[in-house]
């Protein structure tokens, strides 16, 4: 009765919650929007179907309702394909088919009995917004993190107000019920699970922009994408992370960092004030004189200061002439030095050193094309790294005076829309055959070459859409016709393509603050993480590096890739952990400027000076 293909797809859900935000202007799953539980979103249905296949969950009345509430509109196919290449609609159909057949066989869905605990929760949040239904609980029990098992909660509750959150904390305390807070569930580090109560903040979506103060007040269910959209509407910009991650969750968990952190800072730099509910259920604000000092940093694993119910975040001005630039390099050290130079000289806003893997994956609408493009960029064109920068006209002029070969916004658009032809074998063979003392990109990026490049690439939305499944091409043609889809500034503000990094496999990211003036430290970290991964047969690659605090420090991402449904792959990570954990622990404790993000967890409100310069 189960479809094997659908089961496999369902098991591969990355839990990035991208189906919970309207990042492609397609709208989002209607039943999810109405019911708020993750179970009613495609992500939840994927989990439910996968669990049904494995006999982990009974067919309950809510499960039947979840299956039936999907109207097969196809939005999730478009959304999910854009970042992961997966097509969830087949799973939605398989779930509906299974439930329908199960009912036709005369089976009766399980009616789960209520209990006093659930009744108490419902008194706080309302009848609809607390549950103990196993099908719903299951969707709050696991994520692709390979080093943690399933933990099913007893209850899930969705508060609407800060008072309800406080009441839930008191309720849990009175009953010795452990609890966790879940923003959008996109952290995938096994942090948002509990045997007790999970508070899902999806109903707390208030955003209030204060244009005079260039700030925004956001409730804990507000995602980065939603805040950015609202800020953008006011001509402002937030320093936000992954689009589906909640702003409050991000700040509390790791602190906010992004390529914009070059100019906007990290952690305590990013907010004006935060409101928390402490473990007793009492409110406090960080600007209160008597509030706990969360701006300090301790080099140890530390619990969060409480549940964040409001973040008062800083927004930043934008200018009309902002554009992106990419400066190619075939050498990592040179690229880092250049990024650092920009940081030191305060040139540009967002800055990042990207490897060929990130660049090709971000740009390509399919995994196969990304592989070809990566080869094309690195092997044929010699673009192994790029320093990516967003800046105004003055900043771009400065960069151009520093480096001759740049990819400007027009060329970037041309490359995006002509990507399948950039990866054409004949063209790449021709380019790689240039036996010159400069990398081929230095020749191809000359102004005189623009017309020839355009003739080769023949860029158009139709050309770009050739890379995707035929039935999605019309959608992609419309999508790529929208200017923002090829605009480096917009793409970097909204970060809708960064989740593509996990298109092949789930990504296990290492984030490490590093001293940027000692590039050998960064190179050594990459080398050692690469060595450990090779030893254990784990796919791995350099991610990105962003300068911070005028080029004095940087944040490095290095990634391992694993199939989280494959026990052998989990075991590989488990074995690798025995090496990478002590390595990064020792480095964080003993090397100036190095701090593994593990130690920043739950200290995201700390001042950066407290952990970058210890």
């Amino acid at each position: 009765m189960f479809s094997e293909q659908a089961r496999k797809t369902a098991g591969q859900c990355r839990h990035y919650a991208m189906c919970k935000i309207d990042y492609l202007d397609t709208g989002i799953c209607r039943s999810g929007e109405q019911n708020h539980y993750v179970s009613y979103f495609p992500q939840g249905r994927m989990d439910i179907y996968h669990a049904l296949c494995r006999g982990l969950v009974p067919v309950t009345s809510p499960l039947v309702e979840i299956a039936e509430s999907c109207d097969l509109c196809g939005i999730c196919d478009k959304q999910c394909h854009f970042v992961t290449g997966m097509r969830p609609v087949e799973v939605m159909k398989a779930l509906k088919t299974y439930v329908r057949q199960w009912l036709e066989q005369g089976n009766q869905p399980l009616q789960v009995k209520t209990d006093p605990g659930l009744e108490g929760l419902r008194e706080v949040v309302g009848q609809k917004w607390a549950t103990n239904d196993p099908a719903i609980l299951l969707t709050y029990a696991d994520d692709p993190f390979p080093l943690a098992g399933m933990r099913t909660p007893r209850y899930v509750a969705l508060p609407r107000t800060r008072e309800e959150v406080a009441a839930l904390v008191c309720f849990a305390n009175d009953r010795d019920l452990p609890y966790v807070v879940r923003g959008n569930g996109g952290s995938v580090f096994g942090f948002v699970f509990s045997h007790g109560l999970v508070m899902d903040m999806n109903r707390m979506k208030g955003i209030e922009i204060d244009p005079e103060n260039w700030t925004a007040r956001v409730e804990p269910g507000v995602t980065s994408f939603e805040l950015q959209k609202e800020a953008f509407r006011h001509g402002l910009r937030a320093n936000t992370a992954e689009p589906a991650a909640t702003v409050c969750g991000n700040i509390v968990c790791t602190g906010l960092f992004s390529t914009w952190s070059n100019a906007y800072g990290v952690n305590a730099d990013t907010f004006v004030d935060m409101e928390f509910i402490d473990s007793r259920g009492d409110f406090f604000r960080l600007i209160d004189p008597g509030a706990p000092n969360v701006f300090c940093f301790e080099h140890k694993l530390t619990p969060a200061p409480g549940i964040c119910t409001l973040a008062h975040v800083r927004l930043h001005p934008t200018t009309e002439d902002e554009e992106g630039l990419m400066v190619p390099f075939d050498d990592f050290e040179e690229a880092v030095e250049f990024a650092r130079e920009l940081g030191k000289r305060r040139i540009g806003l967002a800055i990042g050193v990207l490897g060929g893997h990130y660049l090709s994956t971000f740009m390509s609408p399919s995994a196969d094309l990304a592989d070809k493009v990566r080869y094309g960029l690195s092997q044929a064109l010699g673009i192994r790294y790029v320093v990516f920068m967003i800046g105004d006209g003055f900043a771009r002029q400065a960069v151009r005076s520093m480096r001759e070969s740049v990819i400007d916004s027009k060329l970037f658009k041309m490359l995006m829309l002509g990507l399948p032809r950039l990866a054409d074998d004949e063209w790449l063979e021709l380019v790689s055959g240039m036996d010159t003392d400069q990398p081929p990109y230095a020749i191809l990026l000359r102004r005189e070459m623009r017309s020839l490049l355009e003739a080769v690439l023949r860029p158009s939305p139709e050309a770009a859409a050739q890379a995707v499944d035929e039935d999605l091409r019309d959608f992609y043609i419309e999508l790529y016709a929208r200017p923002e889809m090829t605009d480096m500034v917009w793409l970097n503000m909204f970060r809708i393509i960064s989740a593509r990094m996990s298109r092949r496999k789930h990504m296990f990211a290492f984030l490490v603050y590093v001293p940027l003036d000692r590039v050998e430290v960064t190179k050594q970290i990459c080398k050692e993480l690469g060595r450990i991964a090779d030893k254990h047969g784990i796919d791995h690659d350099y991610g990105f590096l962003t300068p911070l605090d005028m080029g004095k420090r940087g944040i490095l991402e290095y990634d391992y890739y694993i199939d989280h449904q494959e026990p052998l792959e989990k075991e590989k990570i488990r074995q690798a952990l025995k090496e990478f954990e002590p390595y990064l622990d020792n480095l964080s404790a003993g090397t100036k400027g190095v701090k593994w993000l593990k130690y920043i967890f739950s200290q995201g409100c700390a001042r950066k000076e407290a952990f970058l310069y210890t």
Partner: protein
């Protein structure tokens, strides 16, 4: 060139051990099988061949113990054909690894074997920046045009010393620029002569499509147009002069020369396998226009580029031929009296690089899409 020599040896009944790498998910044997299929060699002819999977860049050539034992016990002669022909300084490490360190690894293995004759396929261009007559002998050269020349020179030096120390007869073959078979056009490599012409062919296809499918907007920007008779006007100037040209030899001539010299000169020595006549770039441009139905491709004096800088097509084209500059304007004369005398005695003469030969070679190149369909 290596595969041509292997086939020639097998056809003459020699037992051949072939060192090959595994690549692109194909084992060394699979790769050799594909090559020999391309040559149309029968299974009977292949029975004396054994493929040894290994890597020249590894100590001991990366051979398995059993294969290393076979080499140590059975080898009488060694032919070294492997070479990295990149010219660019940014590829120095890679070129030196193959051409110098690779040879060192091979010589080390050979030393432990009964091999008493070593055939090194070098290049006439170890002559470096010498002018005039370049002796058919070991040379003292101080300056080179590129890392390839330098690395092959160093390889010759190394082989000379090693062979002298180990009482191995050394044969050094120095071909000039090798192209396909002059009778059939067949080749497995489409570099050197082929690359710049392939670039022009690419431009031709690109702009013809632009004209036919896209109203020729991009073609107009480059001054490209399709004439009524179907000829494409492609304005590409090639910097050169008529005083000098390329020294080109076909692969079939080289193989024949190699087999003859190997047989006729057991005492070894240096052999310049070159063409007594160079081909001017003007003639090559003429052949190209004629074969590909192009106009506008022409030779220009350096001063012309000062008045009118290169367009995008010319920049790309120029970067494909830049490192061939010294060969396109070659004033070196490769002495080859010794080789010529031996080959002439066997009625072996280098074929002229005529238009029919050019057409056969380019016909094969286009038919196989420059090797992509081989």
């Amino acid at each position: 060139m290596g595969s041509h020599i292997v086939v020639s040896l097998l056809c003459r009944g020699h037992r051949v051990l072939v060192l090959a790498r595994e690549r692109d998910n194909a084992s060394a044997s699979q790769r050799m099988d594909r090559l020999l299929n391309w040559f149309g060699l029968s299974q009977t002819q292949r029975r004396y061949m054994k493929v040894l999977q290994g890597d020249l860049n590894l100590p001991g050539l990366g051979l398995k113990a059993q294969d290393a034992g076979t080499v140590a016990a059975d080898v009488d002669e060694t032919v070294h054909c492997a070479s990295d022909t990149s010219f660019s300084p940014r590829r120095r490490e890679q070129v030196e690894r193959t051409n110098v360190l690779g040879l060192e690894n091979l010589l080390d293995v050979v030393r432990k074997s009964p091999c008493r004759a070593f055939h090194l396929i070098s290049t006439a261009y170890v002559a470096g920046k010498q002018k005039g007559l370049c002796a058919e002998d070991f040379l003292q050269v101080l300056e080179f045009h590129n890392v390839y020349e330098e690395s092959k020179y160093r390889a010759e030096k190394m082989a000379t010393k090693h062979c002298a120390d180990n009482k191995i007869t050394l044969h050094v073959y120095r071909p000039s620029i090798v192209y396909g078979d002059s009778n059939t056009g067949r080749t497995t490599l489409f570099n050197a002569l082929y690359y710049p012409i392939r670039t022009l062919h690419f431009f031709q296809k690109l702009y013809t499509r632009d004209i036919l499918e896209n109203e020729g907007k991009k073609a107009r920007e480059m001054g490209v147009r399709l004439e009524k008779d179907g000829v494409l006007h492609l304005p590409v100037r090639i910097q050169s002069s008529d005083e000098c040209g390329l020294n080109l030899i076909p692969v079939n001539y080289f193989v024949e020369a190699f087999m003859t010299l190997r047989r006729e000169c057991p005492e070894g020595g240096v052999f310049h396998v070159v063409n007594p006549r160079s081909t001017t770039i003007r003639l090559l441009a003429d052949y190209t226009r004629r074969f590909f139905q192009l106009e506008g491709v022409r030779v220009a004096e350096p001063e012309e580029f000062l008045k009118q800088p290169r367009n995008g097509l010319e920049i790309l084209f120029d970067n494909h031929i830049r490192y061939y500059g010294p060969y396109m304007q070659d004033k070196r004369i490769f002495e080859h009296s010794r080789t010529r005398a031996i080959l002439a005695g066997q009625n072996i003469v280098c074929p002229e690089f005529s238009y029919p030969v050019f057409a056969i070679c380019m016909g094969y190149a286009v038919e196989t899409d420059w090797g992509r369909l081989v």
